[in-house]
């Protein structure tokens, strides 16, 4: 767990480095190939950053492998699933989420930048996430009318969009990847025409 926290801290420090100053030399951005459709980056950059990521954060791996049951202090057993966030910069962040916790809460517990302006009361769409695999999207309960009302207004709505506060961790969702929409790629702020659901 210590290594996991450390690597998260490391990736955050790296993320806050000014864009473009160090990147050409060291290639410190952590990029993954898998979300190519959300981020266009040069293959060279990916190669550089992947190798560096492996060197820096290889310890991270063993903590993100599969569904696990962890023993908490006091002997209470809490089942957790793996959830992978793809943040606005396109970086993957691996976290563990206890069964029953909603994704907005989980993001905040792990310092992931996901807004939750109405604190889960279904009055805003700031915790909009995109489920990156349809297979996982289909494992979720259908959104309620109230959630759909908010999704209608969500920035960058896709066919697999959900509100983070309405997605509750359950065993079937182990390994789910969630993208946080970004204003800097693909989407225009205004005049966005949502795709049919």
């Amino acid at each position: 767990m210590v290594f996991h926290r450390l690597s998260r801290l490391g990736s955050r420090i790296v993320r806050e480095l000014p864009r473009g100053i160090f990147m050409p030399v060291f290639g410190m951005r952590i990029l993954h190939r898998s979300y190519g459709q959300y981020l266009q980056s040069s293959p060279m950059l990916q190669r550089q950053t992947r190798s560096l990521k492996e060197a820096l954060f290889s310890n991270n791996r063993k903590f993100c492998t599969s569904f696990s049951t962890t023993s908490e202090k006091g002997g209470e057993e809490t089942e957790k699933i793996n959830v992978i966030f793809v943040d606005k910069d396109g970086e993957e962040i691996h976290i563990k989420v206890p069964i029953g916790m909603n994704i907005l809460e989980a993001a905040h517990e792990n310092d992931i930048e996901l807004e939750g302006a109405c604190e889960g009361s279904l009055a805003c769409s700031t915790c909009h996430v995109i489920v990156m695999d349809t297979e996982y999207y289909n494992k979720l309960e259908e959104p309620t009318d109230e959630e759909n009302d908010m999704l209608d207004l969500a920035f960058g709505l896709t066919a697999t969009s959900r509100l983070g506060c309405q997605v509750i961790a359950k065993p079937e969702l182990d390994g789910v990847r969630l993208a946080i929409p970004s204003a800097t790629r693909n989407f225009a702020v205004d005049g966005f025409v949502p795709k049919p659901h």
Partner: protein, 484 residues
């Protein structure tokens, strides 16, 4: 090896920011301003952000725009307060750009100035009779019931007849319709301004007409607000069956937008439910959705000179203008609709200030991804160094609170790029300079701690009336509470 590299880079980064403080001033403390502040603070460790606002109270439209019966939307204040209380952020209310301070002075004091002061004026219809009394912009009416200090003495006349006409069918139109029609016993437990509640309690308005130039497929309202208004107790919804018929172009529009499709379905359902009910109670409240009508002129009352007595409406039909868009065109067929009050909910407009490029036609500041554009020749846009916009001033008065999240992300992205380009190298006085200037001009600024005193007082006053807060609605009361 790689760990050494990381440590080296981190230390280099930290030393470089500490030697270069970045002074940022944001004008306007609504969602656009506060999301901008949040993102600047997160992206730049060396940034100090001062937020100024002309009001003594922060949060812009979350306080004066969001309807009182939408408390869940106002929860955003919690997050915005955390931003405003950040150790590298300060709020200075009661500071007016354009009179207390000039834009040029702010730009001299700060590396980065972001204008996020929204849209405090209204679009005009430009038709005869628009200046008759009894005609208000929805903004004025909203500011009145939300206790904005500039409109607390509006005193709209809600007793001359039983009919009000609202021009426009967006969410602001639905908000004001709801406030006019909702049982006041339900409004009494909200943070609605006291003066508004007492006028509404005596209101004789029973019928509200929502007029739209186009059809149910093009209405600008959203499903949540529509669902809510359809759920109001003892309210009869009226929609003409013929208005609901669809053309192939309508079907095409719905296919491309799930939101439009859901709204149309809700309206159809409401129309079907209303069709079976019959008229009986004269006190029955009614909400009429009137489609395919545009206002042609306002009618003046014979008995009360200078007062509105109705609207002359022209029937319209839709015409396709390409790319799936349909516009309304008049048919030359007219009808009168009598009423004693008209609310124009046809859109807000931003107000220009001295020294700021402004697009008067669109009512926004010309910009490229938030950078203020001073001149455009051909494809080349010349931008004003260090000057940015965000929110409604940048993109016009559309969207919800969350839209500003992405709007701010874009503007702050531009700021970050410009900082890397070395735009902000010179040294600036920042907060210190602002304080000196405000002191010299004897401006009584209200800091966030002053707002917290207003907040505490309002909440305290609310307790007695079982309301979340009783708003202070005059400049004197607000400034007195802040200074206390």
């Amino acid at each position: 090896m790689s760990r050494y590299l990381a440590r080296y880079m981190v230390s280099r980064y930290l030393s470089s920011v500490s030697s270069r403080p970045l002074h940022v001033c944001i004008v306007g403390s609504g969602p656009a301003g506060l999301y901008t502040a949040d993102k600047v603070l997160k992206a730049h460790e060396g940034a100090h952000v001062d937020i100024i606002d002309r009001l003594p109270t922060p949060f812009g439209l979350v306080r004066s725009g969001v309807a009182p019966d939408h408390p869940e939307t106002k929860i955003a204040i919690n997050q915005f307060s955390r931003v405003a209380k950040h150790e590298r952020c300060s709020f200075y209310g009661n500071v007016k750009l354009g009179s207390d301070l000039l834009l040029s002075e702010l730009r001299d004091l700060y590396h980065v100035v972001v204008l996020a002061y929204g849209a405090e004026s209204d679009k005009d219809l430009g038709i005869p009779g628009e200046s008759l009394s009894g005609i208000y912009s929805a903004r004025e009416f909203v500011w009145w019931y939300n206790g904005h200090p500039d409109y607390s003495s509006l005193k709209p006349d809600l007793k001359s007849s039983d009919t009000a006409v609202i021009l426009g069918q967006g969410n602001v139109a639905l908000d004001v319709a709801r406030i006019l029609l909702r049982p006041t016993t339900e409004l009494a437990s909200t943070d609605i301004a006291r003066h508004a509640l007492s006028v509404l309690e005596e209101s004789s308005i029973r019928k509200v007409y929502l007029i739209g130039r186009r059809g149910p497929v093009q209405a600008a309202l959203t499903a949540k607000e529509l669902r809510e208004v359809l759920g109001i107790k003892n309210l009869r919804i009226r929609i003409k069956e013929t208005d609901l018929s669809l053309t192939p172009a309508d079907e095409e529009e719905m296919k491309n937008s799930r939101a439009r499709k859901r709204i149309y379905e809700l309206l159809s359902k409401a129309a079907a439910a209303a069709a079976g009910t019959s008229e009986a109670d004269p006190d029955q409240r009614e909400l009429h959705f009137v489609f395919f009508r545009q206002p042609d002129r306002f009618l003046e009352s014979d008995e009360r000179k200078g007062h509105v007595s109705g609207v002359n409406l022209e029937k319209t039909i839709l015409e396709s203008v390409g790319s799936g868009k349909q516009i309304a065109v008049g048919t030359g067929e007219f009808e009168d609709l009598n009423c004693s009050m008209v609310l124009k909910a046809i859109g807000y407009k931003s107000v220009p200030i001295n020294g700021l490029p402004f697009d008067h036609k669109k009512g926004v500041v010309p910009n490229v991804r938030g950078r203020v554009v001073s001149q455009t020749s051909g494809d080349i846009s010349q931008t004003e160094p260090g000057l940015y916009v965000c929110g409604w001033l940048k993109r016009g008065p559309v969207g919800i609170i969350a839209t500003n999240l992405y709007c701010a992300e874009e503007t702050v992205g531009s700021i970050s790029e410009d900082i890397e380009e070395g735009v902000c190298k010179s040294s600036k006085a920042g907060s210190k300079g602002l304080m000196e200037l405000l002191e010299k001009r004897k401006v009584k600024k209200v800091e966030f701690s002053g707002w917290e005193k207003i907040d505490a007082k309002e909440k305290q006053m609310g307790i007695e009336k079982n309301k979340p807060r009783e708003k202070l609605v005059t400049w004197e009361d607000l400034l007195a509470a802040a200074a206390n």
